[in-house]
Structure formats: structure tokens, C-alpha cells
Amino acid sequence: MKADAIALPRFHARLWPYVAAALGVAVLISVPNFAGLYQTQLLTYGLIMAIGALGFNLLLGYTGLLSFGHSAYFGLGAYTVAFLLQWLGIRSMELYILLGLPVVAIVSALFGYVCVRHTRIFFGILTLALSQVLYSLALKFFWVSGGTDGLRVKRPTLLAGMIDFAGSGGFSRFLVAYYYYVLGVFILSTAIIWVIVHSPFGKALQAIRDNETRARFLGLRVRRFRWAAFLLSGTFTGLAGILWAPLNGLTTPDVLYWPFSGEIVFMTLLGGFRNFFGPIVGGVAFTFIKTYAVASTEYWQLLLGTVLVVLVLLLPTGIVGVLVQVARRRVPMERS
């Protein structure tokens, strides 16, 4: 009897993330059936941001490093797509991803190598400065980057060119198809990051986050782990940028500008950065909130800023953090 009493709660506690995930996926798959095109498109953006935030949170929530320069990788991903189209005429989404990921990975590795030599404030400032180098390059070399006008990105072909969206009704077909495409990439990314975070590597990262000194005394090479986390983080956020460009149809320097880095931090905090699903909820929620804020008032920055301040003051654990606290009060069990 006693064995049961201990085993049962633990069984629930380990299972619920998978159950929640399965439910979530089921809901997401059915969205285009009952939501309009606009909502579907919005949700696509939301899922893209969720991938970006998940990547970002690898660094913040799991390694304890706050980067204020993640716009660099997102923007780099977006511009890579635009360049691939413009210079090489590539239209295939798969090629965008296949060729774009190494680019963001290399730059993440480079920037990361420089940044992880420092921690806390200087780390943040350094990530900010490096991202602004990219921004100023995009702005100044306007004959390459299109300057503030940006570069147009046409509708890509999906699934190795099998599906394209020319002709009438192409846009709506694209929106629906692209939603499923992004959903697929999102599910895959989430699964990969889940494994990363629950692997021995992921545990080591969290240990470094909690107690760098003790981690060193376990023989862990702290700087190397941080660098690896940075690389992975930048790559996933870059993936989000790659997915974003064809949907947005246009890549401008705004996506490299540092307030966008702030938005990435904001959405992660909104969802809760101490929980795996927090960034997902935050990414989607923020996309909707910002869209409605921008639509409803000219002063959406004021609104957003106020929400952010209130959030940090009152709800530091974010939406998911609050949900978890509520759930734990209702269902007392030992945490896993």
C-alpha cells in the first residue's frame, strides 16, 4: 500500500507534461478548421516566436545567462533567407532551413565564444553590442540589405518544391499550408529541446546556472558548457527568424534592432522562464497581445511597457509559473 502511495503521485508528476503536450498538439492541429485565416496566420507567428523563445530560454532559464542580443540570430536567419532568394534565386523552404541553420550556428558560435567569457551585466551588454553591430551593418550597407526598406521575400515552396502557391487563392492556401509546416517544425524543435534539457548535458547546464563554483568542483568545464548552450540557443532563435521571413514577406533591419531583443526577453518572462513550457505560452501570448495592442492603440509600447513592469513586479514566475502554483495547491504531490 505504501509503495502505491509513493508511486502514484510520482507517476502523475512525470506523465503530465506528456499529456499536456499531446493535448496541445491535438488542439494546434485542429486550429485551421475552426479559426479564420487571420487567426491562423497570427498563430503561425506565435509558434515561430515560441521556437525563438524556447531557444532563448535555453540560455536564460537553463544556463542562467540573460542575453539582450538575440535579435541578432533571429535577424540573421531572416536576412539569410532574403539573400538566398535574391542572390541564388532559391525558393525552397527546406533549402532555406538547411542553408540558413549553419549560418546562424556559426555566428552564434563566434559571438558566443566572445560573450561567455563574461557573466551577468557585461555578458548582457556584450550580446547587445554585438547584435547592434549587425544592425548597423544592415542599415548602412543598404545597397546589399535594402536598408530601411528591407528585402522582399516571396512565398517559398514547401516539401522540396512539391507544393507552391502561385495562382489565385495561392495566398490563403499558403497560409494554411505554412501553418502546418511551422507546426511540424515547432513540434520537432520542442522535442529536441526537451531532450537537450533533460539530458546529462542539460542537467550540467542547470547545475552551472545554480552554482558555478560547485559545478567546477565536480570537474565541469563551465565556459565550454555555456558556449555550447549559447550556440544551441542562437541556432534555434535563428531558426525562428528563418521561418519568419517568408511569412512576413519582408525582412527589415527592425528585426535586428535591440528593442526586438527586449521583446524576446519579455515574452519569455511573460510565459515564465523557470518552466519548460513557459516560453511557448509566452511566445504565443505575446504575439497576440502585441498584435491587439498595436491594433488598438498607437501607444502600444506604453501598454507593453506597463504590462512588463506589472508582470515583473507581481508575476515574476510568468503565466505558466502561476498555473503551476495553482495546480500544486489543488493537487498536492511531490514534484518531479
Binding site: 510520482r10 508528476a13 531532450v195 537537450i196 533533460h198 539530458s199 546529462p200 548535458f201 542539460g202 542537467k203 550540467a204 542547470q206 547545475a207 546556472r209 545554480d210 552554482n211 563554483t213 560547485r214 559545478a215 567546477r216 568542483f217 565536480l218 570537474g219 565541469l220 568545464r221 558548457f225 523557470r274 511531490e334 514534484r335 518531479s336
Partner: protein
């Protein structure tokens, strides 16, 4: 062959002579207590042996191998581990994961990124064994930050032990805990030593604890050894008694 031997180990901090030509030996399988007043040089000695400090001169020999030039992580690999005076845990990880991580680190598995930690049965089994030995099995799913102080100290020792060292240094493992918890900690360490799994050197101030558990007591004073021997011999040593109690020897 002694397990550990230091040869004329010296360390000064400005005018303070923390270690004055110390020749310290530790034999395999013993439970040794390192005592002395604050500033006597105990922690400095341990720091020198575990590579948290570099000596001004002298050598550290482990199993007759010169390890003086090795780094912290290299000495851990060689078989020396320590716990800390101020508890040093990974509060955001569970008790289970704290110990498991030490084992992963020891096994060199921390680079594994494509497999779930939960799937490594060997590590999980050994973690459960260590937790059981330290009486923490029931708390294994709690966050380390949620434990009571005495349990945190136990966990700290457990994590150092899980590194599979041959020689384990414990820096004041019973400071800041109740007497019941003290007994629990020291009983566990003692039984782990008795089982032959590890040799322990404990820095302690609580003389009751020291006399009850130690095989051998070494007393430091102003960077040098004042006395070295089994508890009975130390008890009878008048010089020691005057330093410890500031009065003629007790019964």
C-alpha cells in the same frame, strides 16, 4: 604507502603563516579529524590539497604520485573530493539530480546531449544507492533548495561522495545543525568509511563529535601540527588541552 602525503607544504598570506612546512599523512581507510582554533590553518591545508590554493613551496603526493601541479578537476579525477563549510548545492535541481550529476560528471557523461538523463539505468541505480546510504532516499524528488539545513549538509557530503573519491575532505560538516542531525551526518560518514569505500578527513570544531568518531586526531596551531594521534592520546596531551580549553587537562 600512505594514501596522501604532503612534504614541507608552505603557504603565507602576507604576514600570516597559514601552513608552515606541513608534513601531513593520511592512511587509507582511516577517519581522521583535523582540529584547531580558527585561523590555525586547517582550511588552508585542505585548500592546498584540493588545488583551491597553490602552495608557496612543498609537494602534495597522492598514492606516492606528485599531484602538486594538478588542477581541481584533475585532482578530482585522481580521487580527491571535498564538501564545503557553506553548503554548496544546486538548489534548482532535485536531490536525486544533484547526486546523479556528480556521477555523470565522474563517468564523463555530461556531454551527452541526445539522450535523456532518466534513461541511464546505471547512473540511476547508483544514485539510489548513494541516497539510501545517506538516508535521503525519501527526499529524492524534492528540490535541493527545499531541504532542511541538516539534510542539505548531508546532501553536500553525498554529492562529494558520489564523485567516487578515494579521499574525501569534509569542511565542518556538522556546523549549523542540531545535535540530532549532527549524529545522523557523522554516523553516515562513519559507516561509509567503515565499509571501506572511502577515507575521510574531517575539519571539525565540535570536540564531542571528534572524539566519538575519529580513528585519529590531528591538531593544528598557527600553521603547524601540535599533536597527532588516536583520541586517547590526544585527550591525555596537556598541550592540546590547554589550547582547546584554556585550562589544565580534563578527565
Amino acid at each position: 604507502m600512505s594514501l596522501l602525503r604532503t612534504v614541507e607544504l608552505r603557504k603565507r598570506f602576507g604576514a600570516l603563516n597559514a601552513c608552515d612546512g606541513v608534513n601531513f599523512t593520511v592512511e587509507k581507510g582511516e577517519f581522521l579529524s583535523l582540529v584547531g582554533s580558527n585561523g590555525a590553518g586547517k582550511t588552508t591545508l585542505v585548500n592546498l590539497i584540493t588545488a583551491h590554493l597553490q602552495p608557496d613551496s612543498g609537494q602534495v603526493l597522492f598514492e606516492e604520485r606528485d599531484i602538486t601541479g594538478l588542477s581541481v578537476s584533475e585532482r578530482i579525477k585522481a580521487g580527491i573530493a571535498r564538501s564545503f563549510q557553506l553548503v554548496n548545492l544546486f538548489d534548482g535541481l532535485s536531490v536525486f539530480d544533484n547526486v546523479a550529476l556528480a556521477i555523470f560528471a565522474r563517468e564523463g557523461k555530461t556531454a551527452k546531449i541526445a539522450a535523456l538523463a532518466a534513461n541511464d539505468d546505471d547512473v540511476r541505480r547508483e544514485t539510489r544507492e548513494v541516497l539510501a546510504e545517506f538516508g535521503l532516499a525519501a527526499k529524492s524528488e524534492l528540490m535541493a533548495g527545499e531541504l532542511a539545513q541538516g539534510e542539505r549538509k548531508l546532501l553536500d557530503v553525498a554529492v562529494a561522495y558520489a564523485l567516487g573519491p578515494k579521499l574525501l575532505f569534509l569542511d565542518e560538516p556538522t556546523s549549523g545543525v542540531s545535535s540530532a542531525e549532527k549524529a545522523q551526518i557523522m554516523d553516515t560518514v562513519s559507516s561509509v568509511v567503515r565499509s571501506g569505500a572511502v577515507t575521510a578527513v574531517v575539519i571539525e570544531h565540535d570536540m564531542d563529535v571528534v572524539f566519538r568518531y575519529s580513528d585519529r586526531i590531528v591538531m593544528m596551531h598557527e600553521g603547524a601540527f601540535l599533536a597527532d594521534g588516536p583520541p586517547d592520546a590526544i585527550r591525555a596531551n596537556e598541550a592540546v588541552a590547554s589550547i582547546l580549553l584554556g585550562a589544565p587537562s580534563p578527565a
